[in-house]
Amino acid sequence: MEKFTKHQGIVIPLDRSNVDTDAIIPKQYLKSIKRSGFGPTLFDDWRYLKAGEPGMDHSKREIHTDFVLNQPRYQGGSILLARENFGCGSSREHAVWALEDYGIRAIIAPSFADIFYNNCFKNGILPIVLVEEKVDALFTETNLKEGYRLTIDLEHQFVIEEDELLTEKTPFEVDEFRKYCLLNGLDDIGLTLQYSDDVRAYEEKRKQQTPWLFA
């Protein structure tokens, strides 16, 4: 997993609430047995005029020119600005893989769906919850200023807005353990296996109490 320490990037505003994981990556792409290559089909139904299929050359498909990912001013963007309940619906981690493959490193929204939020951390993407007023203000800034960028400092937990005149730092919350894994790019399976003896001891105890769970 790629480390996340400090990141600066162009902000892409996706002005819709309840964006579900079916919209982030439609079902036909879930047939892949791989973990990579989902970027070109991120937001497929909104991005292209016609439904796509796996194996297509997506660069040759006709696009919805007004969709944010297709607007020249947001090319190369790596911070997604979204509305409430982002990532609701299916648990498909392919949604996060698609965002990651596209180049998204952080997502800012007033709220996220639980499973999606969790999946982000497993893939080096930082989901940041900011209050709705702040998210509104960032939408306004992004729409006003072409090439609008933000800096995200995970270590100190700030979203940083900078221009010629001033620097504004907005703090955000992040779980300590998840932050630690993200800062160090750690595989948490390795971390858990350090506690193998604890797991075995638990199993021995439970086999006595609830033997039917081990039949």
């Binding site: 609430s17 609701c88 648990s91 769906a113 639980d114 353990f177 399976i189 296996l193 604890d198």
Partner: protein
Amino acid sequence: MAGKTLYDKIWDAHVVREEDDGTALLYIDRHLVHEVTSPQAFEGLRMANRGLWRSDSIVAVPDHNVPTTTANRGNGTAGITDPIAKLQIDTLDKNCAEFKINEFHMDDIRQGIVHVIGPEQGATLPGMTVVCGDSHTSTHGAFGALAHGIGTSEVEHVMATQCLIQKKMKNMLISVDGKVGEGVTAKDIVLAIIGEIGTAGGTGFAIEFAGEAIEDLSMEGRMTVCNMAIEAGARAGMIAVDQTTIDYVKGRPYAPVNTDKDNTWDKAVEAWQDLHSDDDAEFDEIVRLYAGSIEPQVTWGTSPEMVLSVNANVPDPASETDAVKSKGISDALAYMGLTAGQAINQIHIDKVFIGSCTNSRIEDMREAAAIVKGKKVADNVKLAMVVPGSGLVKKQAEDEGLDKVFIEAGFEWREPGCSMCLAMNADRLEPQERCASTSNRNFEGRQGQGGRTHLVSPAMAAAAGVAGHFVDIREIK
């Protein structure tokens, strides 16, 4: 000290260790696996040279991609015409063989939708922690279990360690008080709940469903309710264990039994008596609904919270003061091809889908069959299909003659699988086609790009198929 909730009890019984910040290692008893969210996890294990911690905790089944047409079944994966889908199921078969996992293959009568077969086999037991790389794992909470969906990285984590790294969720109680009226089903109850609290209302919570209307439900109905907890934002929904639960579990293949040596079943039943919230348990949030005021529900928009009574009219974005919500309504109406103020019972449909992990169990089949018996599918309905949730549900329905009832009415009677709930296989809507569906998600494109989904109960879907438009089920009887 306050008593414990059902969630507190199961959580406490499964904590292997806990850090000071509340991050815990939670032990997982049952891991259900299907073809879509597992291949990358198996590949991860191989790459790190890791094995399974406990292969006997895993039950695997292909369901999302399987064809439901009889001509494409009965010959293993050879009948799958889509080579990418076939590869995914072959990969599951190969992985399960390599890692020695018990799998119900495509031709096994026990094959079916993972959330139907788990309970059917008794692989889901009260008090268990159950996970699966699928958000509708919340279904299994109907058994007084802690069950929730996980991503593929966590699938790999559970395979390798038998644990999940978790922080405890908050407790929410949703009490549905009193009795439901005639024609109002578990699906209507849960849709009404989602309409009340919204699709993010349960985010961060484990929801316990309680109250007389919930207690009155069969296990099939309880599974329908818990299945859609995730549509209210809660990863886990659960219902206390009672005699209904125990009667359902008894005698199933994976359920404990008494033997000459040990009375394991009796011990299990005794332990399960504690699987309810204590009278003095404290919930972070309590929501109460009056069952008698719930009417048959129909979703009109592109989120499950966009739901109303069948006798209501589609909302008008102009009357919504919140700008983001107003835009949400107008976007949804545009996608759904509806106009503000339109009567829901005048919306005509093109297709009917009865199936999915929400509503494909025997009781759902019976409910729908009772409506269509002796009637015909309306002329404007291009396709009406019934997809039983498992080979065993299908057999049971056929033994009861329900297949004939459906076929005579003009419905197609299919083989088990997820089918048009998410349209990964050939079963899907064409752009602008409108469907009365017993599934769980009405998201844009969910049942096929441009497709328009209205979520309803099996009886309401069946009635819409016969009438050609939505009708109040209570007017039929």
